[in-house]
Amino acid sequence: MSQAEALRAIDATLAGEAVDPRFAELAELALLLRDERPEPPPSLVALDARVARRFAGGPAAPPRRRRRAWLWAPASGLATALAVAVVIVLAGTSPQRPPLSPHAASSAAGAAAGAAPGAPTGAARRQPAPTRPALAAATAGRLAPHAAASVPAFAPAGTPGVAAVPQPAPSGRKIIQGAQLALTTAPARIDQVSQEVFDVAGRFGAVVLSSQVTQGGPGGYAQFQLSVPSSALGQAMGALSSLPYARVASRTDTTQDVSDPYQAAVRALNDARALRTSLLKQLAAATTTAQIDSLTARIHDAEASIASDEATLRRLQRQVDFSQVTVTVNAGTIVPVTPSSRGSGGFTLGRAAHDAGRVLTVAAGVALIGAAALVPVGLLAALVWWVAAAVRRRRREQALDLA
């Protein structure tokens, strides 16, 4: 009697069919086993009512054993940690970066982007570009601001609050103006933003007294000393504050009224000239050698005084005509401002479409980062689930073995 034949005989017996006499004993055993089937008690009818109610409102199922929360604890912890990491990465780094990167540095001093008559040259160009703290101190000392206007950090570029440059009232007074502008851009755009600074300088007839652009490594840094015609300072600052891929981190505008020193120099010059004229007349009327020598010496002194006063006036006038602007560009995480956002803030379909594209791009990037973080979490969760299921299955089988 083979196994297959025996199994067929069992099935035939249970189906009520006749079997070969060789399997009579097996068939009898199968029927006896079938007769041992426990019959459902009458109380099982109650289940019919529960089914009719679709298990609603009936006696509750035995309370499920509380799930083992510890099985999910590692996955939950890892997911939380990854979420925090993603948030930190997205939030970006602090704007307080080291001023210079040791990886690569290129300095260009005195790179004149635009030629302006009377623009300062010489020593200023030859001075090494100072580091940012030193520059800030030097700028503060040089300008000695009578009034300073600071823009809140990280004000969006191109906003009216930033573009509106505080200008002294046109009262005919001699006023030296200055500004410090700190920009933030993406590390990969340091070079591009630096070029845009050069372009703005050239557009408004400014002179780049010194520049320093550092790239490479985790961040980057650039610094510019500009001499901007005061008549174009407002426009230049507006343009610098609205660079496409940079954002204003801080901005300080300074003014210094030098009308009094200027007028004093003018008076001294006029006095010296009057003195020289008088001395020249006296020299024409002099008859003795002693008189001539004395007058000649005094005329020399007067001319020296005239030269000194004229130099003072030229220096003051140059400082009035050209404003010193310090621009620093730091690498950081920003929401880039697109080129289309330059100019007026009007709403156009093209700008809206561009903004929508940017939003979708950023959203896709965030989703990609999130997916990259969730993949290992998902794998770990799947592994935990698989192990838990295997353990549960094994314990069930063990319970059957013990039964």
Partner: protein
């Protein structure tokens, strides 16, 4: 096998009038319930050897099946095998619960089982021998008997419920029958 399925009787028919349309999930479930209720109970009662607990586990199994009726995938087997898989897990969970409470050793039996059938002497003798042989089976062997002879599953369904191949299920059934036959011979 079909006769075993037909033995599921005494079920209150609460199904809506039959429709020519494709039955809804509820209608399918109710049809499954009506055809399998007694079989599930018989299987669980044989496995647990406790009729009171078998009632609860049967109800739990059907409730679980109802809650998870959306998870049924016909490509993975028939509904009947799917339902008995749920019932098996529920019964094994009950066995685990008993084991934790150290009550598994108590086999209360059933007065009905001990009731002598109205057979002639030789058949009664054979029936007693079969019961004695059943008592010697392991839990796994008793489960095979319950699925095959009390629930009326085919060998393919039995394999699906146990998670083994059909040939393996046939081998397990054959060995169990051989063990029972030897035990009956010894008892006889």
């Amino acid at each position: 096998m079909n006769g075993a399925r037909a033995r599921s009787r005494g079920v209150i028919d609460t199904a809506p009038p039959a429709s020519a349309e494709i039955p809804s999930s509820w209608e399918r479930f109710e049809r499954l319930y009506r055809s399998c209720r007694d079989d599930v109970y018989a299987y669980v009662a044989t496995l647990l050897r406790d009729r009171a607990a078998a009632e609860d586990v049967t109800a739990l199994a059907f409730e679980r099946a109802y809650r998870r009726r959306w998870s049924f995938d016909r490509r993975r087997g028939e509904e009947r095998a799917w339902l008995f898989g749920i019932a098996r897990n529920a019964a094994l969970d009950e066995l685990r619960r008993r084991a934790r409470h150290a009550r598994l050793a108590v086999d209360p039996g059933d007065p009905e089982d001990a009731e002598p059938p109205a057979d002639d002497g030789e058949v009664a003798l054979r029936r007693t021998a079969v019961r004695a042989a059943l008592g010697q089976l392991t839990g796994r062997e008793r489960e095979i008997v319950a699925l095959k002879f009390h629930a009326g599953l085919s060998n393919a369904e039995l394999a699906r419920v146990l998670g083994v191949s059909e040939s393996n299920a046939g081998t397990m059934l054959y060995r169990t029958m051989e063990k029972l036959r030897r035990a009956c011979d010894v008892a006889g």
